[in-house]
Amino acid sequence: MAFDYFEVECPEQVGGEYYRRLAGVVLLDHDLVKVISKLHILIDPRVPIFVATGVTRKLPPPVKVGDIAAVNIQGEKVVLSIGDETHLAALLRLLWDRFGKERVDQPDRFTVLMQLTPGESEGIEEIVVTDPSETLYKDLIYALQTIAPEGFKVRRQYYGQGRFYFVASENTLPDDILTLVREKFALMGESL
């Protein structure tokens, strides 16, 4: 596993080993192994509590229109020549929402043709198509929810500045849960 730090802390040794494998498989399935650099999981079925704390690697920057397409503006006619198809669906959805379907034409697979006023076409290269950090948060929380025991429905989660935590329990979470989270960050040599 390509983590810089990966520990599963559990009072039941066998259960802990299973959760280590389980966490590895789930993160691999969700393509998150490359994204996470440090991960510490505490699971204590006696309390019961599940705490996952971690640090993500530096994420790729948001993808802008200018990154995936060459923009050519001739008066009111704006031509986007698509270089990377990966984000084309997201780009089209964004353009439809912003300018309306009737003004966005796609005569062939790699060309998008639009009729825009000069005001509208200004700064079109800078429009953000997708932001990896947005989907990452959703994916990360979904994966951790899958790893945590199913009965642990009461949960609290956070992601920001490259750090995340996910706390879940079957009972009400204690008020001082952040103290425990900070302790786990300290074990990884990090702080929240």
């Binding site: 066998v14 259960g15 389980l22 498989v25 079925p45 019961p48 025991p149 199913e150």
Partner: protein, 312 residues
């Protein structure tokens, strides 16, 4: 005549000769399905004639293997039908047991998860009790199993095999009163079972289930059933023609001591009860015909000889 369960796998070409042979020998076809160019027949056949079937099947690329679970219906009880438990491990185990001849049904509990909140409702209890055996797929922690299992087994009167994360000895220690079978080191996991070690574990589950069911069969043999379930299946197939319109893979599911007939109870129960077996004896004389809690099916529970004084 002692009937033993077998699986016949062979080419589709001339497979009807094998079917005819099994029927002529006094055996029963429990299930027959064709996959691409191959046919898989699960049957109960006379023990002395297995060699003959093997010999007839050989030129047709057929192979006969013993399948101890043929003629049984097993409930695989999953703690929920969420991504946490499906498709691995519940489906992997259900599918593997099915390959060994059993008819498995997955019972996903509405509230099986959690240590404190786990519970079993009356419908789940009744549906599980309609099977020959229940395999409980529990989690990875002994603490949770110890606390929640007594709730999940409440009212279950069929044999139970428990699969859980802790090893077999720990499971035996924490489950009180004991259940019929234990398989340790099979808790919640989320990857496909394909490594040799994992397949050995699946074989271990099959072995444990087989041994529990063998024990059950021995108990039934002490007070034999009034009629064999496989024979009763044939009687119903002949006398209730509507069963031919059922699209389910097994319109009649054979159990160790009964049958599940997949026809609506209200419409067909009387017809099933009135079906004649031999010499004026009807299904109603030797079996209880009950409404099943699984959809609107009919559940036929065969009475033992001590109750009816009839053996047909």
């Amino acid at each position: 005549m002692i009937l033993v369960p077998i699986t016949y796998k062979g080419g589709i070409y001339r497979h009807d000769e094998v079917v005819d042979l099994i029927e002529d020998l006094g055996g029963y076809i429990i299930q027959k399905h064709a996959i691409a160019g191959e046919i898989v027949i699960q049957a109960l056949v006379p023990r002395d004639d297995i060699e003959l079937i093997r010999r007839v099947g050989k030129p047709l690329m057929g192979d006969v293997t013993p399948a101890p679970l043929v003629g049984t219906e097993i409930a695989v009880v999953s703690m929920s039908l969420e991504i946490h438990h499906l498709p691995h491990a519940s489906c992997d185990i259900a599918e593997y047991i099915r390959r060994n001849g059993a008819k498995t049904n997955m019972v996903g509990l509405a509230r099986g998860f959690g240590k404190r909140v786990a519970q079993l409702n009356d419908e789940e209890r009744d549906v599980i009790n309609e099977h020959d055996l229940a395999i409980y797929m529990l989690g990875n922690f002994g603490t949770c199993i110890e606390q929640k299992f007594p709730v999940l087994r409440r009212g279950i009167d069929i044999p139970i095999v428990v699969c859980g994360g802790p090893d077999k000895e720990t499971l035996q220690k924490i489950i009180d009163p004991p259940v019929d079978g234990y398989v340790g080191n099979v808790g919640r996991f989320m990857h496909r079972t394909k490594e040799a070690e994992e397949l050995t574990k699946l074989d271990e589950i099959v072995a444990e289930v087989t041994s529990v069911l063998d024990h059950r069969r021995e108990e039934i043999a002490k007070d034999p059933l009034s009629v064999s379930p496989a024979r009763l299946m044939e009687v119903i197939e002949e006398q209730v023609p509507d069963i031919g319109d059922v699209t389910s893979p097994t319109p009649i599911t054979v159990q160790i001591a009964g049958l599940r007939v997949k026809l609506p109870y209200d419409t067909f129960a009387d017809q099933v009860k009135a079906a004649g077996i031999e010499g004026g004896i009807t299904v109603g004389d030797v079996a209880d015909v009950l409404p099943s809690r699984m959809r609107d099916y009919i559940l036929v529970r065969i009475k033992p000889f001590s109750e009816t004084n009839i053996v047909v």
